[in-house]
């Protein structure tokens, strides 16, 4: 027995050994598999730049034949630039550019109209000098035009430079007058509020003057409409296009939340900062720029692409006289539809500036707008430019966190740390900065507003802040303290929601909620009110004194620059126009005590007061009917004021974003904290998913170096030309002769006798 056992034993050992050796030899071989490296396919194709977030190259168009002024029209006015013709009832007008001979008509050609199969309503509209919306006896909102409402022209009187026609809308029993006159190279259309007489039961909701001025049927004339969407967008005339659902209905200066509800607000829609629009018939041939001058606060800009109701492309301003709204009568939102009883009493005026030749494109229009703003002293020559471009550094100091018992404060950046961060960046080569400090007060960023003081002790207190300011000042860097005069929340001494908050048109206090978590309710959810603008101005005045005493000289205005609301509180009623006036007074009083006022995404009425503009849009909303995005805003502003982009550390395409900033002449901006951003997880700033300074400092330095090398040379120059050389390749020409060429493509491009590397930019020429 034992012998067999022994043999079996030996046999097993031998087998094991054999097995082990084999495994060892063979096993190693398998893992030498070639693993695929990660495939980063970077092919370069032009089609990627045909997307409407870029601009397409212009093609040369044949000379467009001008229309003839029909016989029935007589000359109503003329000056050196333009001739104004009208028909005998002033149902339509024609403007002839004396230099080029081109004729703009307020209604499309009758021939083309006949061929189109349109319903009665639209045929009437296309032949009318205005479109109106009105509320009938049952409070239903209806549309009408001169012809559909059986109107007559009661009176036509000569005024210096033009004519004033009084229309009587028989069906609605109301009259109003429209004045059309020439001023140098522009046509001015005006509605005086006192001339609007409503005798019947119907009430006017809105008026659109000369809606079809320059309207184009499909693509019979090459060209485009310019809309002030974000930085600017073009709607080119196309013959073949998909079916669109609706027209563009842009609200100038954003939606008035006190009147319109927010369900129609779509995510991340770009704002309208300027009340302008335009039309080009043939690039480099004929164009006009429309600027809404009076009544701009309650106006919309409408642009219809072909295929919506008619096959015409047309654009016009719409003045709102009365808003419709829903009056709730119970907490469950039962209620009824009604409209504003008293109309908005404002005079309304829109100016059309005509151009021809090389300036007849969006660049020319932007330059025209720039000259216009200079004329009104809204843009003034920049002073105090340093050698290097500034980099916007937005720091977050203190935030409020929901806690176990009560709330605690999370310190993200103290004043001392801010100083260290600035020093570190400057050592790395960032020569010029513009520092905005948010959340510097005791309540933190979402703690209390408008009570801002005292300065947070956790961050170092008032003295340390002053010290920081002095140190930065020595290095030529302004320190802006962030101030918000629009929202009120938290515990406040002088603010009571029922008395001081803005009320909606249905007399409810307007409030918003900032949610902490998406799913569970939290005691940290913040109810936010809106401060009546008049009160804001008073608060700002007293704040300015305190800031001055503290020794601070720069302030950054958030939200107040871009949010414009009317107030319907019975004791402090205020229209949007009055609110804008108050904000202008606010800005002026702040400037009285401060040296610099930086504003976040300011509307045009605050441009006069802004020494720096933060978070200016570099994109448009990319509507399906828009064909291009253009830097209209930037061309108008560059050289007169420093403007910055949205924080670059939140952009999903960091490399491409740098190219865009350089192309648009915008300076870089970063949102930073000294502490890592996960500390904000339980605060209302938990959407700041990246802000850690140590993570970003190297990239900031290298980005700055690249951008500064090029942009510092054109800091005070204006943009004179913008040429798209090919899909994704743009050339921007500045007034000092320097040109910046940006290449978005995945391959190198040759330019004159140089190469522009892929995803890069170069600066050429100049003195």
């Amino acid at each position: 027995m034992s012998k067999i056992k022994k043999e079996v034993g030996y046999g097993c050992i031998a087998a094991l050994l054999f097995f082990g050796i084999v495994t060892w030899v063979v096993g190693e071989g398998n893992s030498a598999d070639v693993s695929e490296g990660f495939n980063e396919n970077k092919e370069d194709r032009a089609i990627e730049y045909k997307i409407n977030s870029h601009t397409s190259p212009e093609s040369i168009n044949a000379q467009i034949v001008a229309r003839k002024v029909p016989d029935g029209y007589k000359l109503a006015a003329q000056n050196d630039h333009l001739e104004l013709f009208m028909d005998n009832q002033m149902k339509s007008i024609m403007i002839k550019d004396r230099k080029s001979g081109y004729v703009w008509s307020s209604i499309p050609e009758e021939e083309g109209l006949q061929k189109e199969r349109l319903n009665e309503e639209w045929i009437a509209a296309l032949r009318s000098p205005f479109l109106v919306e009105y509320f009938d006896e049952e409070s239903m909102q209806k549309r009408g035009s001169y012809l559909s409402l059986e109107s007559t022209t009661e009176q036509i009187e000569q005024v210096p430079g033009g004519i004033k026609a009084t229309y009587s809308l028989k069906k609605l029993d109301m009259t109003f007058s429209m004045e059309v006159k020439l001023e140098s190279d522009s046509l001015v259309v005006r509605f005086d509020d006192q001339d609007i007489v409503e005798n019947g039961k119907s009430k006017l909701a809105s008026i659109q003057p000369l809606p079809f001025l320059g309207a184009v049927l499909k693509d019979e004339i090459p060209g485009y409409i310019l809309i002030p969407d974000g930085s600017g967008a073009l709607i080119r005339f196309q013959g073949m296009h998909p079916r669109y659902d609706q027209a563009y209905d842009g609200r100038v200066y954003g939606m008035d939340l006190a009147v319109e509800s927010s369900d129609r607000r779509s995510i991340n829609e770009q704002p309208i900062l300027m009340p302008v629009f335009g039309m080009v018939h043939g690039t480099g041939q004929n164009s006009f720029l429309g600027i809404i001058e009076d009544g701009k606060h309650t106006s919309h800009i409408i642009a219809y692409p072909s295929g919506v109701n008619t096959n015409y492309y047309w654009a016009a301003p719409k003045f709102i006289l009365r808003y419709a709204y829903y009056q709730p009568t119970s907490k469950n939102m039962g209620g009824f539809n009604t409209f504003q009883a008293e109309r908005n009493h404002e005079d309304r005026q829109v100016r059309y500036i005509f151009d021809d030749g090389l300036d007849a494109d969006y660049v020319g229009m932007a330059k025209t707008y720039r000259e216009y703003l200079k004329g009104l002293e809204i843009l003034k020559t920049k002073s105090g430019s340093q050698e290097n471009i500034p980099l916007h550094m937005e720091l977050l100091g203190l935030e409020k966190e929901s806690g176990i018992i009560g709330n605690s404060m999370v310190k993200m950046t103290s004043f001392e740390e801010a100083e260290a961060m600035v020093n570190e960046l400057m050592d790395k080569g960032v020569h010029n900065l513009s520092v905005v400090f948010k959340g510097w007060g005791e309540g933190g960023l979402n703690g209390n507003n408008p009570d801002k003081f005292p300065v947070a002790k956790e961050l170092g207190g008032k003295n340390r802040l002053l010290e920081l300011k002095k140190i930065l000042e020595e290095r030529g860097i302004p320190l802006f303290l962030y101030a918000d005069y629009t929202n009120a929340y938290g515990s406040n001494g002088g603010f009571s929601p029922n008395a001081d908050a803005i009320r909606t048109i249905s007399n409810n206090v307007l409030s918003d909620t900032y949610y902490l978590w998406f799913d569970a309710e939290s005691s940290s959810d913040l109810t936010v009110y809106y401060i009546n603008p008049k009160l804001s101005t008073e608060i700002a005045k007293s704040d300015a004194e305190q800031f001055d005493k503290m020794g601070m000289d720069s302030l950054a205005l958030g939200k107040t620059g871009s949010l414009l609301l009317s107030d319907h509180h019975p004791k402090s009623k205020m229209s949007r126009m009055q609110a804008a006036g108050e904000y202008e007074k606010l800005a002026a009083s702040l400037l009285g005590r401060m040296d610099h006022l930086g504003v976040y995404m300011p509307n045009e009425y605050l441009w006069k007061y802004s020494s720096q503009m933060f978070e200016m849009p570099l994109y448009s909303s990319q509507y399906m009917f828009s064909t291009d995005t253009v830097p209209f805003l930037q061309i108008a502003l560059h050289g007169y004021v420093d403007y910055f982009s949205s924080p670059a550390n939140y952009n999903a395409n960091p490399q491409e974003y740098v190219l865009r900033m350089v192309e648009y002449g915008a300076y870089p901006s970063y949102k930073l904290t000294n502490e890592p951003s996960w500390k904000l997880k339980n605060t209302l700033s938990n959407d700041m998913f990246t802000s850690y300074f140590d993570d970003w400092k190297d990239e900031i330095a290298s980005t700055y170096e690249k951008m500064n090398a090029v942009l510092k040379q054109v800091q005070d120059a204006t943009i004179e030309q913008r040429n798209v050389l090919d899909w994704g390749v743009v050339e921007v020409v500045y007034s000092n002769g320097k040109k910046i060429i940006v290449n978005y493509r995945g391959k190198d491009i040759s330019y004159e006798n140089q190469m522009v590397p892929e995803m890069d930019f170069i600066l050429v020429g100049g003195e």
């Binding site: 073949m240 991340n268 550390n649 939140y650 999903a652 993570d695």
Partner: protein
């Protein structure tokens, strides 16, 4: 896998975020963290192009004129290995082929097809088309020549009465066809290359429905027959990946929305979370799954294991911005990672491109999924730099740290990621090392302590060592209040005697009971904050002390009141204060042991979850037992009567809850009514 909370509110919430637009997209992009909460992130995909099909030219047979026939109601899209894009142009009864840049290549099946709703192309370039209109599956070769067609299978296994309405089709590596048929509840129809029916594959199950269950229990057969049968939903679409695994998407079922099926038809991703209206799915070369929710216009991207990477997109409700969809019906991915989404109502294909951020995430996942943790570390660090709330990155870094034996760092990363499994593993490693280093020291220490105690005891007995301390302690124990506070110990060991003493011998008082009650709440709070997060079901950050307070005291007082009321009807002997004291003392196991158990849990890993569960369960059971004893002893019942009493008490508590609910609801209605009247009056007066 992560259970997600409801994400329907995202559309509302996003309007109220106080920050500016992060990117130029008309939608927000989210990732999901370990708690199932949406975390905002940079845009993952941005619109990069639109294909309308205006470049598709059709030569009119009669006039020879070329006119453009753009896409019309396209319902499916497929991209083959050569990056050719095949679109089932349903409204125009044809399959249109583009290259990946939108240039038109050819049309297939113009005169053969009626209503093609599904298209698939295999490795050799053979085109499979599911034609809903003609109820057949057609197979074309690369040039567009018809090779085969299959109608309804003859096999009686298929069922003569079952309709054959093919909507989508794929072919696997063995060239077997899997067909999604309308109304086919048994799964995908499997057909061989010769047209032979091979069976059903991967069917869905009906979900659990309480109403249906009750109906089945209580209804008669006749009534049941009259009800609609609850059938499992049938799949909406199907895809196949590089390894030949089949994916199905389904509408109408939360749990089975997306399934990844192995050869046996088993779902490999049972815990996958998704919306319930998935109309199409596709898989890219790395195994990432993309799903389209047509109801919300959202696109979800998952990694190979079913972790949600990104959710983005939205419906176009009239604002007509690029990147929004009206009715997305199909999705496909090109080899360079661009998404092609076909929109049935807009009649176009929108192309979305991955952003630089997403490219880094994909790179990190590529290495991570392959187990190359060290290589994934670099990209993960980049991802975290760009978005420090990206949980998957923390897990990735944690795994990398584990590989390099850096257990403390791994622990930290897993804690931030909320990855309980890996945290447990990392902790196990740390504990092992700690034990190895320190256990000997602690053993010796305990031994010494033990010896010291024995020695002291001996000394005391012999020589009266530390007599004063012992006497002091004895005296302290005799104090009335202390005795009462220490009574729970006796009660736990001798419940019957304990309760007798409670009542008769004054071994408890209202004061001591109240102190213990407060202690109960304190212990509860302690438990909330001290239990190891591995075992805790709750999120410490979201705990609302006031709610916890209510959760402890409302049931407590409801029980006492209800019990008193029921007992007084049923000849119970206990007075109210006895019930009060008795209940609190019955909860003494919890008061005494919950704290230590929570502390103990700190040192355990998931592997020892049994210990923790056992300890907590015993506490609960013992308390329940003591409660039972309390009712019996205090009221002087027999066992049967005790059971009846407890049952009635519970019903009493339910009735109290119902009353409270009704009162609350009513008062709400009343206040609302008064408010409405007030508003109406105010409005009328002002006007």
């Amino acid at each position: 896998m992560v259970k997600c909370k409801s994400i329907l509110f995202i559309t509302i919430i996003m309007l109220l975020l106080p920050s500016t637009a992060f990117a130029n997209a008309p939608y927000m992009t989210f990732t999901i963290n370990h708690d199932g909460e949406p975390i905002l992130t940079q845009s993952a995909y941005l619109p990069t192009g639109v294909v309308d099909g205006f470049n598709i030219t059709l030569k009119d047979a009669d006039t020879g004129e070329e006119k453009s026939v753009p896409l019309s109601s396209p319902e499916d899209i497929f991209i083959d290995s050569k990056d050719h894009v095949y679109v089932a142009d349903t409204g125009n009864s044809r399959i249109v082929v583009f290259d990946q840049w939108g240039n038109y290549l050819q049309t297939i099946g113009q005169n053969t097809l009626s209503k093609p709703t599904g298209v698939f192309v295999d490795e050799e370039g053979t085109v499979y088309v599911a034609d809903y209109g003609r109820e057949k599956v057609f197979i074309f070769n690369q040039d567009g020549k018809l090779m085969k067609e299959f109608g309804k299978p003859d096999s009686h296994l298929f069922g003569g009465k079952n309709p054959f309405k093919p909507m989508k089709v794929i072919a696997d590596k063995r060239k077997n066809l899997f067909i999604v048929g309308e109304g086919t509840i048994h799964g995908l129809i499997q057909i061989s290359q010769e047209g032979e029916f091979l069976g059903y594959f991967g069917g869905n199950k009906t979900g659990f429905n309480l109403t249906k269950m009750l109906q089945r229990t209580f209804y008669t057969q006749v009534q049941l027959d009259q009800l609609m049968k609850q059938l499992p939903p049938s799949a909406t679409n199907v895809a196949v990946d590089r390894e030949g695994l089949v994916y199905t998407s389904t509408v109408g079922s939360r749990n089975d929305s997306i399934k990844k099926l192995n050869v046996a038809g088993k779902n490999l991703l049972p815990d996958l979370w998704s919306y319930s209206d998935i109309t199409d799915i596709t898989v890219d070369a790395l195994g990432n799954i993309y799903a389209v929710d047509s109801f919300r216009g959202r696109i979800i991207e998952y990694d190979r294991d079913g972790n949600i990477l990104f959710i983005f997109g939205g419906t176009d409700e009239g604002n007509q911005r690029l990147g929004l969809f009206k009715s997305p019906s199909g999705i496909a991915v090109s080899s360079d990672g661009r998404l092609f989404i076909v929109d049935k109502q807009r009649n176009n294909i929108q192309i979305l491109k991955a952003t630089e951020f997403t490219t880094i995430v994909h790179e990190a996942i590529f290495y991570f999924m392959d187990g190359k943790y060290a290589q994934s570390e670099g990209p993960w660090i980049d991802v975290l730099r760009l978005n420090s709330m990206f949980d998957l990155a923390h897990t990735g870094l944690g795994m990398s740290a584990m590989k390099q034996s850096e257990y403390k760092m791994a622990l930290e990363e897993f804690r931030i990621a909320g990855n309980k499994e890996e945290y447990s593993n990392a902790y196990w490693e740390i504990r092992r090392i700690w034990l190895m280093e320190n256990s000997s020291r602690y053993m010796i220490g305990i031994l010494l302590l033990f010896t010291a105690v024995v020695v002291m005891k001996k000394l005391y007995r012999k020589y009266g060592f530390a007599r004063q301390a012992v006497d002091g302690w004895k005296w302290f124990k005799q104090r009335k209040l202390t005795a009462q506070l220490l009574h729970p110990f006796r009660l736990m060991r001798h419940p019957v005697d304990g309760y007798w003493e409670l009542e008769a011998e004054g071994k408890s008082s209202i004061l001591s009971a109240t102190i213990l009650l407060i202690l109960l709440f304190v212990v509860r709070v302690f438990e909330i904050y001290q239990t190891n997060f591995l075992f805790a079901d709750w999120d410490v950050m979201k705990v609302n002390l006031f709610t916890e307070f209510l959760k402890v005291f409302i049931p407590f007082f409801a029980w006492i009141i209800s019990n008193y009321l029921v007992s007084s009807i049923n000849d119970g002997e206990g007075k109210f204060k006895d019930i009060y004291k008795g209940t609190i003392y019955a909860l003494s196991p919890y008061i005494i042991f919950a704290g230590p158990v929570a502390i103990m849990s700190q040192g355990l890993t998931r592997l020892e979850i049994v210990l923790y569960d056992f300890a907590s369960t015993s506490i609960v059971l013992y308390s329940a037992f003591l409660l039972f004893m309390m009712v019996k002893e205090i009221h002087g019942y027999e066992i049967g009567q005790t059971v009846k009493n407890i049952f009635l008490t519970l019903i009493g508590m339910l009735i109290m809850a119902l009353l409270a609910f009704i009162l609350f609801g009513l008062s709400n209605q009343v206040t609302d009514f008064i408010y409405s009247i007030f508003q109406e009056v105010k409005y009328r007066v002002e006007n």
